[in-house]
Amino acid sequence: MSGHHISSAKFLWGIGSALFFLTFITVAASWVHFPSPWNIVVAIGIASVKALIVVAFFMNLWWDSKFNSMLFVMSLIFFLLLIGITLLDTLFRVDPVPSF
């Protein structure tokens, strides 16, 4: 078949190693005890980089049809919409939740 991207074994191991390394970095960052909002920012930042690496190079979106990338980006946009609109309610309640 033509047009299928075949990654070299060396490349795949490189991506895997990068992910192992970033896992170590996330754990190490949690030992540093960044002050309050920054620990979350750092943890989510590293996780996002890892996720992007997986999506781009293991799931091959980097070489794939742009339409599939669009589908993926749309899912993120709708996810952010879900969180955004929910927080507009929950963050501004006078009495958060009565019993649960």
Binding site: M1, G3, I15, G16, T23, I44, L71, I83, T90
Partner: protein, 218 residues
Amino acid sequence: MSDTSGVQDKPKHLKHYFVDSDQQFEASKMGMWVFLVTEILFFGGLFAAYIVYRSWYPELYIQASTELDTFWGTVNTAVLIGSSLTVAMAIRSAQLNQIKGLITNLWITISLAFVFMVIKFFEYTHKFDKGILPGEYYTYEGLAHEKANIFFSIYYMMTGLHGIHVIIGIGLMLFLVYKAKKGVFSSEYYTPVEITGLYWHLVDVIWIFLFPLLYLID
């Protein structure tokens, strides 16, 4: 009568409603991406619950996550990343027509997925023994927070749904091994391997976020 030329060289895997193998492959892959979008939003609901309750009870999350063992969380993260790597290697083997390599890589992936579930099993039973159960079944006394059960309800829902995905993935890959042994896959046709690979990588991506959000809060 319609033209019947080219019927002989039509590959066995090719459905009649596709022009050629490439079109069939691209259509399957796009269909899988649409499914993955629904998966992201499926887990998205749980992530939203996590975020809402964390914004309400930030101190609860910091206290409660001390009950989770960072060491085993890290091991499981490494296990899943390793399994993502072997799935990618399995797809590469299929693309190069190395069916033995494909089967070996699938077996390694299945074993790693199994290791993940065994570790998860011991994490769960350890908590069950202490009375850390979801919702109203929570009886653990070790956390000084009246809403402590909320964190663990979210923990069990998120890791539980993820675990179900891992178990389904194991089933799918056993099926792939069975098909590969029957000689179904080749460099000309490996669509189910590619599609299952996409699914497995997404399960890995979800865990990549679950790990810092649940285990690594100070």
